[in-house]
C-alpha cells in the first residue's frame, strides 16, 4: 500500500464525480465536477450560471431608482450592503452629498446586515462540518436582526429602502430601545456561538490547515473580504477607501495568518464583534437632521463613468457605471466578490480530500445570486 496518488500509472483511471447543482452543501445552485483518485481531488471543473437573470442587461433598461430593487436580489443575504453600492455610484456621478443622519443610518443597517450574514455563515459552516447546533444559534440571532429590519423598512429581506440621496423613512420611534436590547443580545449570542464552535477540537481538526491559499495567490485571483484577510492581507474598503462615515469610527480589521478554513471562520467571528462596536459608535454620534438630500424624483446623472465599491460581508463589491446623460445607465457592470472567491476554489481544491471539498466551499461563503447575476 502506498499513500502516493496513483495518477497516470497503468491500470488506474480518475473517477469523475458530479456534485450539484441540487446539493445542500453547495449553498445554492452550483455544480462542480470533481475528478478524484481514491479520496483525493485531482481537479475540479466548476459550472455556474444556473441563476443567471441578466441583471446587468436589465439595469440598462431601468431608471436609476428602479435598479436598487434589482441589487437587492444579487447577494440576497446582505441586501442593504448591495443597495448602498448602487446608491453610492449614482451619488458619486451626480456629485450628491448625503445628509449625515442618512449616512449613519446606512452604516448601522449595513453593519447589522453584515452581522446577519456572518451569523448565517456560522450556522451553515457548522452544518458543513457536521454540527447541528450552530445553525440554531445562528438563525436565532439572524431572526432578531431581521425583525428589526422589518420594523424599519417593512421587509425582512429585499428591503428597497435606500434611495439616491438618502433613505426612504426615518427610524421608528422605538428604535433606540430596540437596538440597545438587540446589541446586548447579539454580543451575548456571538460570544456563545464563538464558544460553542471556534475552539472545538473536532472542528479544529476539520478546518485547521485545510484549504490553504497563500496571500500571493489570493491577490492574483482577486479574492476579497474575509477570505483575503484570512491570508493576512490587510485590505478592507472601509479602511482603504472610506465611504459614508467609516472614517469617523474607530474599529479594527481582524486578520488571519495561514489562510485556511479555520482562519476564514475566525476572521468572520471577530468581524461580528467589530460590527457591534461600529454600531455602538454610530448610535453615539448620530444626530437629528434630514434623511434625504434635495433631489428630483428621477435621477439624471451627467454623462460620465464611475467605479464605486463598498465592503460587503463577502468582500469588495464594485459597480462600474457608464452614463450618457439619460435617466437610465448606458452600461452597468458589477464586480461581485463571490464571483472571484469562487474562481479560486479550483486552485484550493487540488489535492484536497473529498470530505474537505465541502468544507472549503463552505468556508468561502459564496452566494450564487451574485455569482450568476
Amino acid at each position: 500500500m502506498t499513500s502516493e496518488p496513483q495518477t497516470g500509472t497503468p491500470g488506474t483511471v480518475d473517477m469523475m464525480m458530479n456534485m450539484g447543482p441540487q446539493h445542500p452543501a453547495t449553498h445554492g445552485v452550483f455544480r462542480m465536477v470533481l475528478s478524484i483518485d481514491g479520496e483525493r481531488v485531482i481537479d475540479m471543473v466548476p459550472h455556474i450560471g444556473y441563476l443567471h437573470r441578466g441583471s446587468e442587461k436589465l439595469c440598462e433598461h431601468e431608471q436609476y431608482s428602479q435598479i436598487i430593487t434589482l441589487f437587492d436580489r444579487l447577494d440576497y443575504i446582505a441586501n442593504f450592503n448591495n443597495e448602498l453600492v448602487i446608491c453610492k455610484a449614482t451619488e458619486k456621478l451626480m456629485g450628491l452629498e448625503v445628509p449625515d443622519r442618512a449616512q449613519y443610518i446606512r452604516v448601522i443597517l449595513c453593519e447589522l446586515n453584515r452581522l446577519a450574514s456572518h451569523m448565517l455563515f456560522y450556522g451553515t459552516f457548522g452544518l458543513d462540518a457536521g454540527a447541528m447546533t450552530p445553525i440554531m444559534y445562528g438563525f436565532r440571532e439572524r431572526e432578531r436582526i431581521q425583525s428589526l429590519f422589518e420594523s424599519i423598512s417593512g421587509a425582512r429581506m429585499m428591503h428597497n429602502f435606500f434611495r439616491i440621496g438618502g433613505i426612504r423613512y426615518d427610524l421608528p420611534e422605538d428604535f433606540n430601545q430596540r437596538i440597545t436590547q438587540l446589541l446586548n443580545e447579539l454580543q451575548k449570542g456571538a460570544e456563545k456561538a464563538d464558544k460553542l464552535l471556534t475552539f472545538n477540537e473536532v472542528f479544529l481538526a476539520r478546518t485547521r490547515d485545510v484549504g490553504i491559499i497563500s496571500a500571493e495567490d489570493a491577490i492574483a485571483y482577486g479574492l476579497s473580504g474575509p477570505n483575503l484577510r484570512a491570508t493576512g492581507v490587510n485590505y478592507d474598503v472601509r479602511k482603504s477607501d472610506p465611504y459614508e462615515v467609516y472614517d469617523r469610527i474607530d474599529f479594527d480589521i481582524p486578520l488571519g495568518d495561514r489562510g485556511d478554513c479555520w482562519d476564514r471562520h475566525y476572521v468572520r467571528m471577530r468581524e461580528m464583534y467589530e460590527s457591534i462596536k461600529i454600531i455602538r459608535q454610530c448610535l453615539e454620534q448620530i444626530s437629528e437632521g434630514p434623511i434625504m438630500a434635495p433631489v428630483r424624483r428621477i435621477a439624471r446623472p451627467p454623462a460620465g463613468e464611475v467605479f464605486a465599491h463598498a465592503e460587503n460581508p463577502r468582500g469588495d463589491f464594485g459597480v462600474y457605471l457608464v452614463s450618457t446623460g439619460g435617466d437610465k445607465p448606458y452600461r452597468l457592470k458589477m464586480r461581485p466578490p463571490s464571483f472571484c472567491n469562487l474562481m479560486a476554489l479550483r486552485h484550493m481544491l487540488r489535492d484536497a480530500y473529498i470530505a474537505d471539498a465541502v468544507m472549503i466551499l463552505g468556508s468561502l461563503d459564496i452566494v450564487l445570486g451574485e455569482v450568476d447575476r
Binding site: G49, A220, G222, V233, R335
Partner: protein, 147 residues
C-alpha cells in the same frame, strides 16, 4: 497620479484622461498584456489586484476596461482598450492576473469577444449551444423566447 502613469507607460504611447477621481489610460489592444505586466511589476504602480474587467458595447466599437488596484500602494488605475465591432479580438491578460479567467469567459459569453490566448473559452454563465450575444445592445431584451 497622471504624471506617474505618463512616466510609467511612455513607451506604449497611451492616451491619458480622467473621470471623477480615476485616472484612465487608453492603450492599443495589442499592447494590453505588456501594459498590464509593466503596471504590475513597476515599483511605482505595483497593480497586483485586478478589481474588475468590463466590456462596454458602444455600438460601433467595444471597449474593454480594466480596473487595477495596488494592495501595497492603495491606488486604483483604469486601463482601457478599444476594439472593433466586427471580429473583436484582444489578448487575454490571464498570464498577468490569473483572476481575469472568469471575467474573460463572461465577456466572451455575453459580448462575443475573443480573448486570444485564454485556455478555455467555453460558456460560463450561458448554457452550451446558446445562440447570440445577450450583452450587446443589439440583442433584444423582451423578445427572447427560451423554449
Amino acid at each position: 497620479m497622471e504624471s506617474l502613469l505618463v512616466e510609467c507607460l511612455k513607451e506604449f504611447k497611451p492616451r491619458i484622461g480622467s473621470s471623477l477621481d480615476d485616472t484612465i489610460a487608453t492603450v492599443s489592444s495589442e499592447l494590453i498584456v505588456e501594459v498590464g505586466r509593466k503596471l504590475k511589476d513597476d515599483y511605482r504602480t505595483l497593480c497586483d489586484f485586478l478589481r474588475c474587467l468590463s466590456v462596454v458595447d458602444y455600438e460601433d466599437h467595444f471597449q474593454v476596461v480594466y480596473h487595477l488596484y495596488s494592495t501595497q500602494k492603495n491606488h486604483q488605475l483604469v486601463i482601457k482598450s478599444d476594439i472593433p465591432y466586427e471580429d473583436p479580438h484582444i489578448p487575454s491578460v490571464m498570464g498577468v492576473w490569473v483572476g481575469a479567467d472568469w471575467y474573460e469567459r463572461e465577456g466572451h459569453d455575453l459580448f462575443g469577444i475573443i480573448f486570444d490566448g485564454h485556455p478555455d473559452l467555453t460558456p460560463l454563465i450561458l448554457y452550451e449551444g446558446f445562440e447570440g450575444y445577450p450583452g450587446r445592445k443589439s440583442y433584444p431584451l423582451n423578445d427572447y423566447k427560451e423554449w
